[in-house]
Amino acid sequence: MSQAVYLIAYLAIIVFISAVIKRIVHYIRSPLHVRWEIYPVAHDSKRASYGGGYLEEVDWWKKERNVSLIGELKVMIPEILFLKTVWENNRPLWYITYPFHLGLYLTIAFFALLIIGAIAQLSGVAAGPKVPLLMSTVMALTNLIGPVGFILAIIGAAGLIYKRLTNPGLRNYSTFSHFFNLILFIVTMGIAILTWLFIDPTFILARAFIVNLISFNISQINSSLFLLQVLLAVLTIAYIPLTHMSHFFMKYFLYHDIRWGDEPNINTPETDKKIGVVLNYPVSWSAPHIAGHGKETWAEVATFNPVAEPETGKEKVDE
């Protein structure tokens, strides 16, 4: 059984990483899209505060753009850490969804601390009677952050289920998978709490499991509760990027490339090249103003005027 759990854990990690990569690669490989930005554009360091952009300047193409990574971070960090947009536009939901997200963030931090602890253990830093202060801090934080994260996620998930069931507006849009996802979190986090309470109060087992995973040391797991916890945790990890919850990393592209994608096509031969490619894509739309004129590519269709030619001809004669 233990071997199977290790195998599933490795598979889950592979699924997680592949699914994340697949989504990102799919996005990056998608064809050039038109500009469709929405202001305020956060990286415009001079004007983002009031929602302006470089198009406010005469001869804007001759001027330097003020693209500031700090500007983007100033929006992104509160957005990620505090769900600022939800706070501003949907306060009643924020009170529920924030504990849920905070619970997940703390759980991610807990995993990171576990991994740091495991690496330290493997490298001998955390071994022996004199554990360095830094490592004991990591372990203390792991012990604190884990359970707080699990509890917050459970409270948030339960609140979200309640909200989705009782708010008629939300109910209309809530599908089976919403409830399944939330219940999955409650069960996984619930088992994690039980494991912590009864089997692994200082996460020694959890850290040892990660040490084993890293060092490919498939050793026996004796507690069936711990086994169940590992199983649920890795399945949840594998499941997240297969669902809409992958917004947690795809949001970067939606913000950075679409919402704030104001890069003009000035001195950008790369964009011109891409325009050349897309304009040569074939068009198969069937409406009469597009099809049936013997024009096949976007370039041909877009430079063809289905109605004006005779008219302009006549005008030339008139003149």
């Binding site: 769900l83 992958s246 949001k251 409406a287 877009a302």
Partner: protein
């Protein structure tokens, strides 16, 4: 939530006369004494010809299928179009944006309260920004993407001719103002979905609103302008404007045409020539007074900046943008400057930026920065006392939220209008006038009634609030709406509620305010009520 306002996703395919109806008593209250009546009926002949099964209005004219075969055809054509919409070849323009909205929406409804239609309708579920998107998403996942267990994972929707007819019509219950997209924590875009659905109908099924297509973009391609003015008529009309306004203002000016090598090609929305000639004249006066090297072009589509493709059809969009850029290249001007028309601004400056190939990459900019520079330069003498009446500024969505041009127009009104006051909210967070995405030019059947009751309601309420200290007919007030479509919508709504008289309201563009304050021009360029 009252029962009539609650519409379920599954209702979209139901065999019923209407999906929903917005009751007068549910409408968002306006500040003051305003009365709305029950909906006028859609005329019998329209109902016989077209599928009018969504609510009390009919905008998209989807032929009513008469036989089972026609019903099936409607569904098949729609689904074919939807499949094409999700291919890079047919929809490279928006595929990435659409796919991300399909995949990552959390269905949290955070975007709902930002929508002025949802608010004005008293929160009728049909107007929730995510309603049409969710139906579209379920169809996509089940029939296009064919996700395993889609019904279970994503929720189900029955795809029959009613679903298709209703979702088509529903794509025209949105101003595509993208205020909802601005508030989405994920970055999903429900406005885009409305436009993409319009594209399926237009580009695949050949169904578009007559105002946007047959009498809109097609006329522009045919005559050069949706007004049907060809180059000879347009030049005649502008000559007449030059004469008329030279006389009226006491400022002799001449609008230049087809000047090769001029610095600027100015493109107006040609609708201004007919409806607001004072806007055209004001540009000519200002540019002449400032000594700018500029011209208009009489080339096809280059004297009318409109590009209705932005609202419903990528092919029509690209055709128009290309014609406009070609005209500029032919004249050898240094840049195109767009007059006061919001969608034209966004179309040619932003969207066309990744459509125009290398030889047509002529720089394009808004008129507001150059107007600001002129006003601030001291080249023209102004007397702000001439503008000493309450002025508020409407922010056209396309220019502000979608282009980030916020400050230039404010610098001007702050300098020239002593009683300027902002609407709340404003700038990139403004509300649409209610005419956005094509409705401002629609007056068929009871569409105007819908524009007054639902789409324009929030803007009206904002305008009245901005003048809360000077309401009534005692004091003249001015709404500066620097966009032709917005002006059309504001004009119609003022007329509907008698506000020209009851509130002494006038509306107009930004250039009119500039000329009104010019010392070299006779006073009284802006007119109120019977002065028109």
């Amino acid at each position: 939530m009252s029962k009539s306002k609650m519409v379920k996703i599954s209702d979209i395919s139901k065999d019923s006369d209407k999906l929903t109806s917005v009751a007068v008593e549910d409408l968002m209250p306006l500040p003051g004494d305003f009365e709305d009546k029950e909906w006028d009926e859609i005329p019998e002949e329209t109902r016989e010809q077209y599928a009018c099964i969504l609510d009390d209005v009919n905008i998209l004219q989807i032929p009513l299928p008469k036989t089972t075969k026609e019903e099936e055809e409607l569904v098949n054509k729609f689904i074919n179009g939807m499949r094409k919409l999700f291919t890079k070849e047919d929809n490279w323009t928006f595929l990435t944006l659409l796919e991300t909205t399909m995949e990552y929406c959390a269905k949290c409804n955070t975007c709902s309260d930002s929508c002025h239609l949802f608010e004005a309708s008293g929160e009728n579920e049909m107007y929730r920004p995510n309603y049409r998107t969710e139906i579209f998403r379920r169809i996509y996942k089940k029939y296009v993407k064919e996700e395993p267990l889609s019904k279970w994972r994503n929720g189900d929707v029955d795809l029959n001719w009613r679903t298709v007819a209703r979702i088509g019509e529903l794509a025209y219950r949105c101003n595509i103002c993208r205020r909802c997209a601005q508030t989405c924590p994920i970055g999903a875009d429900n406005a885009l979905v409305a436009r993409e659905i319009r594209k399926i109908f237009s580009q695949e099924m050949g169904i578009a609103t007559p105002e946007l297509h047959k009498s809109g973009s097609m006329l522009q391609l045919q005559y050069g302008s949706s007004t049907k003015m060809n180059k000879l008529i347009v030049r005649d009309n502008i000559d007449f404007i030059d004469e008329d306004f030279s006389e009226e203002t006491g400022y002799e000016f001449k609008t230049p045409w087809d000047v090769e090598g001029a610095d600027i090609l100015l493109i107006h929305n040609a609708g201004e020539i007919m409806a607001w000639p004072e806007n055209i004249a004001a540009f000519s006066i200002i540019f002449q007074a400032a000594g700018i090297s500029w011209t208009l072009s009489s080339d096809l589509a280059a004297y009318d900046s409109i590009n209705y493709g932005v609202f419903y059809d990528d092919v029509q969009f690209a055709r128009t943008a290309i014609l406009q850029a070609q005209a500029a290249t032919r004249l050898g001007v240094k840049k195109i400057v767009l007059g006061e028309c919001g969608h034209a601004h966004k179309a040619l400056t932003v969207i066309a930026d990744r459509v125009l190939p290398e030889p047509l990459k002529i720089p394009r900019e808004s008129c507001f920065p150059i107007l600001r520079d002129i006003v601030m330069s001291g080249k023209i003498k102004f007397d702000p006392e001439r503008n000493n009446f309450p002025v508020t500024l409407h922010d056209p969505c396309n220019i502000t939220r979608l282009m980030g041009i916020i400050k230039p127009q404010r610098d001007i009104v702050k300098k020239l209008c002593p009683q300027f006051r902002e609407m709340n909210p404003h700038g990139p967070f403004n509300y649409c006038c209610g005419g956005g995405s094509g409705y401002a030019i629609m007056s068929r059947n009871n569409i105007p009634e819908w524009r007054f009751k639902i789409t324009g309601r929030k803007k009206l309420s904002q305008i009245l609030d901005a003048f809360s200290d000077c309401r009534g007919s005692e004091m003249k007030k001015y709404v500066c709406a620097p966009c032709s479509n917005c002006k059309g919508q504001i004009r119609d709504i003022f007329k509907r509620y008698d506000l020209f008289e009851k509130e002494q309201l006038a509306y107009g563009g930004l250039v009119e305010l500039i000329v009104n304050a010019m010392v070299d021009v006779n006073p009284g360029y802006i007119k109120w009520g019977e002065e028109y």
